[in-house]
C-alpha cells in the first residue's frame, strides 16, 4: 500500500471518530457527556475487531469490540444497512448497565464493511438507585434494564415498541431519549463519513489501509516490547466497601514481544456492585496501556494482539452472574486501571530508553456522587458531581504530577464550574480548593486532589439527596512508584446536626474548612444520604501517587509547596526531611535531618 494514501486514510479515520464524538456531545447536551467526557466512539472492522479507537473512556474500546462481535454472532443473517443495535449487558460485553452501547453496521454498495460503536452514561437505567450507580443493589436483577443485544433501529426506522419499552423502565425518560438520539446521530455520522471515504478511495483500498494500520500497530508495539526488558512486575490494589476489603492482585509478565496480565490471587466476587466482568477487566488493563505504551501508535486491534489476560472466574475481576456490577467502572475496573498503570510503569522504569515515560497512579479512586431531587426551579434533576472528573495526576519520572490534573483512562475529562453546579442543583459551595498533603510525597510529588463542601440552598423540598458509591477511603489507591508514597486517600463526610447543634446557633454558613463546621461529621462512602436542612456534604478527593524517594526531593521545591499551602510543615519535616526556618530551607539542618531519617529507616528494616 502506498504510504501517501495510507497516511491520508489514517488521518481521515481519526477525523471521522472525532466528528462522531462532537455529534454525540452536541445532541446529548448532558453535563456528564459534555463536561466529564464520559463517552466513547470507535470504529471496528467488519469482523468486530478494533479499527480506530477514539479518545474517551478508554476501557470501552475493547469491550465495545466484544459487543460488536456478540451482535454479529447473535444477529447473523439479520444485519441490514441502516440497522442500529443496543447492548448493555455486562455479562455479554458492556461494563455496567448504564453505559449503553449503540452499535451500527456500515455498508458500502450493499456489503458490510465496518462497524461503529459508541456509548454515553445514560441519565438513568432504572436501577434501584437513580443515576446508574446502584450501591443498594446486591444482584444484577436490580441494576436496571439490561440487554445482551436488541435491534433498536431497523433499516433506518426506530422500532418504537422497543424504544418505548426501554423508556418506560427509566427515570426521566425524556433525558434518556435524548441520550439515545445522540448515539444514533453519532453512528449516522460515522457511517456517512466512512461511506464518503470509500467512495473517494474505493472500499478495497480503505480496507487494505485498515488492515495495514492494524498490522503496523502490532509491529510497532511488538518492537517496543522487545526493546523493554523481560520480567515480572506486580501490583496490589486494595479497596474498601462497607467495612470489607477487596484486593486486585496483578502479575504482569513480559516475555519477548508478549505481555500477560494475570489476576490470580484477586479477591472473590463481592455482594456489592464493585465487581466487574471479564471483558471489563480486559478493557480496564488497556485503558492505561494505550496512552502509556502506545502514545505514538494507532489504538486498534494490532495493540491487542500481543496481550493476554488470565482472570480467575468468580473473582472481583471476573464476576459470574448474578453478581452486581453497577459500580464496576469506579470499582474493580479502576483497581485494574491502577494496577496495570503501576505494572507497566515499573517495566518502563527498568528500561533506560523508556524510563522517562513511567508514572505513578493518577486519581486512583473516582467518587460517583449522583444528586437527585427537585431543584430550585421545581424540576426533577439527577446528575453527577463532576469534581470526580477533576482528578489528580500521578508524579512522573520527568516531573511532579499535575495538581487536579485528570486521569489516564479518560485523557480529556474536566469538571464543571461551581457556578454551573449551583445553577443546576439547589446547593451552595462553601469552598473548593486543592487539598494540602494530598499529593503523594516523592522525589517528584504527586498532583494534589482537592476538597469541597456543599450545603442545600433554595431547595423547594428543603434539600436534595445523593447516591454515593465511594471507595479508597480506608486505603489510598493512587499508588506511588519507585519509592514514592501513595496519594492521600479520599474522605466523604455527612455533616449533620447533633442535639447540641440543634439550638439554631450552631450554623456556620460560610465555614472555610471541615473543622469549622459544627455538628457531627460522619464518615460515609456507600448508599443514599440526605443533603437536607442543615446538612452539609464534605468531599476530599485523592491525590496522585508520588515518584521516587521523598528524601531526594529538591528542598527548594518542598519550601515552595509549603509556602503555597500544598504541603504542611509537618510533612515537609517528617516525610521530606526538609528543615525550614521561616519558610526558607535550612540547608545544613536538612542534610543532617535527612541522614537521621535514613538511619532510622535502616533500624526499622533491621528490626523487621
Amino acid at each position: 500500500m502506498d504510504p501517501i494514501t495510507f497516511s491520508i486514510i489514517r488521518h481521515r479515520l481519526f477525523r471521522i471518530v472525532d466528528e462522531a464524538v462532537i455529534t454525540l456531545k452536541h445532541v446529548s447536551g448532558s453535563a456528564i457527556t459534555n463536561e466529564g467526557h464520559d463517552l466513547m466512539v470507535s470504529l471496528y472492522r467488519a469482523d468486530g475487531s478494533l479499527l480506530m479507537g477514539g479518545v474517551g473512556f478508554l476501557h470501552h474500546l475493547t469491550s465495545a469490540a466484544e459487543a460488536c462481535k456478540s451482535i454479529i454472532w447473535r444477529f447473523e443473517g439479520d444485519i441490514n444497512e441502516g440497522d442500529v443495535f443496543l447492548l448493555n449487558c455486562p455479562y455479554t460485553a458492556a461494563l455496567h448497565t448504564s453505559d449503553i452501547y449503540l452499535i451500527a453496521p456500515i455498508h458500502y454498495e450493499g456489503t458490510l464493511v465496518a462497524w461503529s460503536a459508541c456509548f454515553v452514561h445514560v441519565y438513568d437505567i432504572g436501577a434501584m438507585n437513580p443515576g446508574g450507580f446502584s450501591p443498594d443493589s446486591v444482584d444484577i436483577y436490580t441494576e436496571g434494564f439490561s440487554s445482551p443485544g436488541l435491534k433498536l433501529v431497523d433499516r433506518g426506522e426506530i422500532r418504537r415498541d422497543i424504544m418505548d419499552t426501554l423508556l418506560n423502565m427509566v427515570r426521566s425518560p425524556e433525558m434518556v431519549a435524548l441520550d439515545m438520539s445522540s448515539m444514533i446521530a453519532c453512528n449516522n455520522v460515522a457511517r456517512d463519513r466512512m461511506q464518503t471515504l470509500m467512495a473517494k478511495y474505493g472500499s478495497e483500498t480503505v480496507d487494505t489501509a485498515c488492515a495495514s494500520l492494524i498490522d503496523q500497530s502490532e509491529t510497532l508495539l511488538r518492537e517496543r516490547l522487545r526493546e523493554l526488558p523481560n520480567g515480572r512486575w506486580q501490583s496490589r490494589q486494595y479497596f474498601d466497601v462497607k467495612g470489607e476489603t477487596y484486593r486486585v492482585l496483578l502479575t504482569m509478565t513480559k516475555k519477548d514481544d508478549q505481555l500477560t496480565f494475570d489476576f490470580s490471587g484477586s479477591s472473590e466476587q463481592s455482594p456489592y456492585g464493585i465487581n466487574c466482568s471479564k471483558w471489563a477487566s480486559w478493557g480496564g488493563l488497556f485503558a492505561p496501556l494505550f496512552p502509556l505504551l502506545c502514545y505514538d501508535i494507532t489504538w486498534n486491534e494490532g495493540v491487542i494482539r500481543p496481550i493476554e489476560m488470565i482472570a480467575p472466574e468468580g473473582s472481583v475481576v471476573n464476576a459470574t452472574r448474578p453478581a452486581p456490577v453497577s459500580i464496576a467502572t469506579v470499582g474493580a475496573i479502576q483497581a485494574v486501571n491502577n494496577a496495570a498503570c503501576t505494572c507497566i510503569s515499573k517495566m518502563l522504569s527498568a528500561s533506560e530508553k523508556y524510563a522517562s515515560e513511567a508514572t505513578a497512579v493518577w486519581h486512583g479512586s473516582h467518587f460517583a456522587i449522583f444528586m437527585f431531587g427537585r431543584n430550585q426551579r421545581g424540576t426533577d434533576s439527577i446528575g453527577i458531581l463532576t469534581e470526580t472528573f477533576g482528578g489528580a495526576a500521578g508524579a512522573r519520572a520527568i516531573g511532579d504530577g499535575v495538581d487536579v490534573g485528570g486521569e489516564v483512562p479518560n485523557p480529556i475529562s474536566r469538571m464543571a464550574n461551581v457556578e454551573t453546579m449551583e445553577w443546576t442543583f439547589p446547593i451552595r459551595y462553601l469552598f473548593r480548593r486543592r487539598q494540602q498533603d494530598s499529593g503523594g510525597p516523592g522525589k517528584h510529588r504527586g498532583g494534589t486532589g482537592a476538597e469541597f463542601a456543599i450545603v442545600p440552598h433554595d431547595a423547594p423540598d428543603g434539600g436534595i439527596h445523593y447516591v454515593i458509591s465511594g471507595k479508597g477511603t480506608d486505603y489510598p489507591m493512587s499508588e506511588g512508584l519507585g519509592g514514592g508514597y501513595p496519594g492521600a486517600n479520599s474522605n466523604y463526610r455527612w455533616v449533620h446536626n447533633t442535639d447540641a447543634a440543634n439550638d439554631g446557633a450552631n450554623l456556620q454558613p460560610f465555614a472555610q474548612a471541615l473543622n469549622d463546621m459544627p455538628g457531627e461529621k460522619e464518615n460515609i462512602a456507600w448508599g443514599v444520604y440526605p443533603l437536607m436542612d442543615d446538612d452539609a456534604l464534605y468531599v476530599r478527593w485523592n491525590g496522585g501517587g508520588g515518584y521516587g524517594d521523598p528524601l531526594e526531593r529538591d528542598p527548594a521545591a518542598v519550601a515552595i509547596d509549603v509556602r503555597g499551602g500544598l504541603v504542611s510543615g509537618g510533612t515537609a519535616k517528617d516525610v521530606y526531611g526538609v528543615v525550614l526556618d521561616a519558610g526558607e530551607v535550612n540547608d545544613q539542618g536538612t542534610v543532617k535531618w535527612r541522614q537521621t531519617l535514613r538511619a532510622e529507616r535502616r533500624i526499622g528494616e533491621a528490626a523487621e
Binding site: G399, V402, P509
Partner: protein, 706 residues
C-alpha cells in the same frame, strides 16, 4: 468621527507577527500598499515604517500624507505577543474566599489538555498545565458571597479586602489586580467595592473587574479572562498611547480606530481598557476583508482561507455573518470574549516534510523552515525539504520568475534533498513522492475546513472559497474541488487582506446582560432588559459622531433547552423592541439554529426553553472604500500567455502540459482553461484540470469547476 471629512486618505495598518502591512485608500485613486518588518516589542516603530513605505510610493512624506488623512485604522498583535513572551505586568488576583484555586485548577485537566493536538492528548504523561500568569502567592480570597440569583448572602469584608490589597501591592509588588468574585455578573457591587479599595490604597494600580470585562457565567473562564486583561492591560494602554503620540508627532490629528477580535473597531481610548478584545484581531480583520469582497461580488457565503509561510488559517462567513469561537484560547489559556472563529494548522509554504522513521508515514509541518534559511530551492542554505520545494518539483513554480524574477530557484538542490529525505525513504520516485506530499497537504486542509463547515452543519457546496496568501492559490484548485465549493476566488488584494479588512469594518460596541428568563416571557419584560443597553449604545454612538442613519442596533438572545448545556446566540430578526410576534419568531429561529448546529433530533422541547443572555451589538456604520471597477474586455487571454510547461495535474495522477500565464498582462474579462498556471508578483495560481478561470472587474481571478 465617521463623518469627519478633513483629508482624503484612510490609512490602515495591520501589525502581524512578521510584517506590518499598510493600505491607503482615497476615493478615485488606486489602492496603495506598504510593508515593513514588525518591530517587537516597540511595534509602533514598525507601523510608522510601513506607512512610510506606502507614502514613499505616493511621493509623499509621512507628514504630508498624515496632513491629508482623515482616519487611521489599526490592528495589532501586541496583546498576543505580550502573552507569548510572558512580558506582562506583575499581576495579582482577588477571588471569593474558598475559591482561590479556581485559576490554578483550570477545571481539572481542561487546562492541561486544552489546545493540544491529537498527539499530545494521546500522551498525557508528557503533558503539563501552562504556568499561570498569576502564581498562587499572588492570589488572595476575601470573605463575601453572592448567590446564583445575585443576592448578596454575605457582605464584602472591607478590612480583609484592604489587607489583601496591601499584601499584593506591598509584599508582592503587583502592578495590576484582577478581581473575579462568584456570580459577580449578576451583582457586581462587591467587585466594584474592591476596586474602590484598590484605588484608595494605590491609585496607579491597574484594575480589571470580571463583571466588566467578561460578565458571563462560569468562574474559571471568567477569572482567566480577567487575569489576561489585567496582565496585558497596561502594556496595551501604553502601546496605544505611544502610537497616538507618534502619529500626532507626524501631524496626524484624526481619530485612531482599533480592530477587535470580534471583527469590529473601537476608538483607541476604549480599546486601551480592553486588552482582551485585541486578541487575534488580525485574522478577524482578514475575515472582515473577505466579507467586504464578497459583498462587492454578491457572495454572502464564504470560506476565507489564508496560507502563508507557516500557517493555514480559515474562517467561515454565512449569510454575511461570522461564526464565533466557542471556547477560545490564547497560547494555552482559556478566555471568554466574542471572537470570530478562525481555525488553523501548522501548514504553509515553509512547512518541513518529514518521514516518521518507524512508520514511514510522511508529515507536512508543523515545523517550518521560516524565512531563513527557508526552503531548499531558495538557495539560502535550507537543508530540509519544504512544501515550497514540492511545488517546484511538480512544476508549479517558474524557476526564473519567482517573486517577479528577483529570486532564482535552485531546482537541482530541491530535487536532491527531496529525493534523499523523502522519496527514497518512501521507496518512491521523486515525482511520485512529490505528488503524494502535495495531496497530503491538500487533504490536511480539506479536513480542517470540513471541521468548521460540515461538522457545524454547513455544506461547503453552498460556499465560495476565498484563497489568500502566498501558498493558498497553489493548492486551492485541489482542496476546493474535493470540498466541492461553488467556486474559488483568488482576490487581487490577497497579500494585504488583513489591512484591507480594517478599512471595511464598522465601529462596533458589544453590550451584554446576563439574566435568565423563561420562554414564554412577556415582551415588555424582555424589552426592559434591553432598554438600558440601547440607551447607553445610542449615547455612545452619538458621542462618536454617528447620526441616527449611521447607527445600527442588532439585538440577540442566547437560548437553551432546559437541562441542556448548549446555548445558541440567536439574532433577533423580527421587530425590536419586541412584540409578541417577534418574540415568538425568536424562539422559532432558535430551534432552527439549534437543530442546524447540533443535528436533527437534538432539540429537546419537552424540557422547555430559557433565555440566558441578552446581547446588543451597536454598530456605527463607516464609509466603505470605493473600489475601482474596471470594464470587462475580451475573453481571449492569449496576450498574457507565456508558454507551456509540464505540471502536476491531480485528476490525471501525473504531469501534463499546462498553459502558463502572466497575471500582470491579464485583463478583466480574460478567460483561462485549466490545467494552467498564473504567475503573479506575490503568488502562483494553479488551475486544475477542467477548471475555468477568468479575471473579473476588480482583477480577482475567479475559478469555476467544469
Amino acid at each position: 468621527m465617521s463623518q469627519s471629512t478633513d483629508g482624503k486618505y484612510v490609512v490602515a495598518s495591520d501589525v502581524g507577527g512578521t510584517c506590518t502591512d499598510t493600505v491607503i485608500f482615497a476615493a478615485g485613486e488606486p489602492i496603495r500598499l506598504g510593508k515593513a518588518l514588525s518591530t517587537p516589542p516597540n511595534f509602533a516603530d514598525g507601523v510608522l515604517n510601513s506607512v512610510r513605505s506606502a507614502a514613499d510610493s505616493m511621493g509623499l512624506s509621512l507628514a504630508e500624507l498624515f496632513a491629508e488623512t482623515r482616519l487611521f485604522v489599526h490592528g495589532s498583535t501586541v496583546v498576543d505577543n505580550t502573552l507569548l513572551t510572558r512580558d506582562g505586568s506583575v499581576s495579582g488576583l482577588i477571588t471569593t474566599e474558598g475559591f482561590e484555586d479556581t485559576l490554578l485548577m483550570t477545571r481539572g485537566a481542561y487546562g492541561r489538555w486544552g489546545g493540544l493536538t491529537e498527539d499530545g492528548i494521546k500522551h498525557p504523561v508528557a503533558t503539563d498545565r501552562a504556568a499561570p500568569l498569576v502564581p498562587g502567592e499572588r492570589i488572595r480570597g476575601v470573605p463575601e458571597r453572592v448567590d446564583y440569583k445575585g443576592e448578596a448572602l454575605r457582605p464584602l469584608d472591607v478590612g480583609a479586602t484592604e489587607a489583601a490589597v496591601r499584601y499584593l501591592i506591598e509584599e508582592q509588588g503587583v502592578e495590576a489586580i484582577a478581581v473575579c468574585l462568584l456570580w459577580s455578573f449578576f451583582n457586581p457591587s462587591h467587585e466594584q467595592k474592591v476596586r474602590e479599595i484598590v484605588n484608595r490604597i494605590s491609585p496607579e494600580t491597574y484594575v480589571t473587574l470580571s463583571s466588566e470585562i467578561a460578565p458571563v457565567p462560569g468562574e474559571y473562564e471568567r477569572t482567566s479572562t480577567t487575569v489576561i486583561n489585567a496582565y496585558a492591560g497596561r502594556i496595551t494602554r501604553d502601546y496605544l498611547t505611544s502610537l497616538q503620540a507618534l502619529l500626532k508627532g507626524e501631524s496626524y490629528g484624526g481619530p485612531i480606530l482599533v480592530m477587535q477580535g470580534y471583527g469590529g473597531l473601537l476608538p483607541a481610548e476604549d480599546a486601551a481598557s480592553r486588552a482582551i478584545g485585541m486578541l487575534e484581531c488580525g485574522p478577524a480583520a482578514g475575515v472582515i476583508g473577505s466579507r467586504f469582497l464578497g459583498q462587492l461580488m454578491g457572495d454572502e457565503d464564504i470560506i476565507a482561507a489564508d496560507m502563508g509561510g507557516t500557517t493555514f488559517k480559515v474562517g467561515v462567513i454565512q449569510g454575511g455573518e461570522f461564526s464565533h469561537a466557542r471556547e477560545p484560547m490564547v497560547d494555552r489559556f482559556h478566555y471568554v470574549a466574542p471572537k470570530i472563529e478562525v481555525v488553523s494548522i501548522g501548514s504553509g509554504g515553509g512547512s518541513i516534510i518529514s518521514i516518521d522513521p518507524r512508520t514511514n508515514v510522511p508529515r507536512v509541518g508543523p515545523q517550518s523552515a521560516g524565512a531563513r534559511p527557508g526552503p531548499v530551492c531558495y538557495g539560502q542554505g535550507g537543508t530540509d525539504p519544504t512544501l515550497t520545494d514540492v511545488m517546484t518539483l511538480i512544476g508549479y513554480m517558474d524557476p526564473d520568475r519567482f517573486l517577479g524574477g528577483t529570486v532564482t530557484l535552485d531546482m537541482d538542490g530541491a530535487r536532491q534533498v527531496f529525493d534523499e529525505k523523502v522519496a527514497t525513504p518512501l521507496g518512491l520516485g521523486v515525482e511520485e513522492a512529490a505528488f503524494g506530499i502535495y495531496r497530503v497537504a491538500a487533504a490536511q486542509i480539506t479536513d480542517l475546513i470540513h471541521e468548521i463547515t460540515v461538522e457545524q452543519g454547513l455544506d461547503p457546496r453552498d460556499f465560495v472559497l476565498h484563497s489568500f496568501g502566498g501558498s493558498c492559490p497553489l493548492l486551492c484548485g485541489s482542496f476546493g474541488a474535493e470540498l466541492n465549493v461553488k467556486r474559488i476566488v483568488v482576490p487581487y488584494a490577497a497579500s494585504v487582506n488583513c489591512a484591507f479588512g480594517l478599512v471595511s469594518a464598522d465601529i462596533v460596541h458589544e453590550y451584554t446582560h446576563t439574566a435568565t428568563r423563561p420562554v414564554p416571557s412577556p415582551a415588555a419584560e424582555i424589552n426592559a432588559l434591553f432598554a438600558p443597553m440601547v440607551e447607553q449604545a445610542v449615547a455612545q454612538l452619538k458621542a462618536e459622531g454617528f447620526e441616527p442613519d449611521r447607527q445600527a442596533l442588532e439585538w440577540a438572545v442566547d437560548l437553551r433547552y432546559g437541562r441542556q448545556v448548549h446555548e445558541v446566540t440567536t439574532p433577533v430578526r423580527g421587530t425590536t423592541p419586541f412584540d409578541d410576534a417577534s418574540l415568538a419568531r425568536l424562539t422559532d429561529d432558535f430551534e432552527a439554529l439549534y437543530e442546524r448546529r447540533y443535528g436533527k433530533g437534538s432539540a429537546y422541547r419537552e424540557a422547555g426553553m430559557e433565555m440566558t443572555m441578552f446581547r446588543l451589538t451597536a454598530r456605527g456604520v463607516m464609509d466603505r472604500p470605493e473600489m475601482e471597477k474596471m470594464a470587462l474586455g475580451t475573453t481571449d487571454s492569449s496576450a498574457a500567455l507565456m508558454g507551456t510547461r509540464r505540471v502536476f495535474v491531480d485528476a490525471r495522477d501525473g504531469m501534463a502540459e499546462a498553459s502558463i500565464y502572466d497575471f500582470e498582462k491579464l485583463n478583466p474579462g480574460n478567460e483561462i482553461a485549466g490545467p494552467a498556471v498564473i504567475h503573479t508578483p506575490i503568488t502562483t495560481i494553479v488551475l486544475q484540470d477542467t477548471q475555468q478561470g477568468r479575471m473579473d472587474e476588480y482583477r480577482n481571478v475567479v475559478i469555476e469547476f467544469g
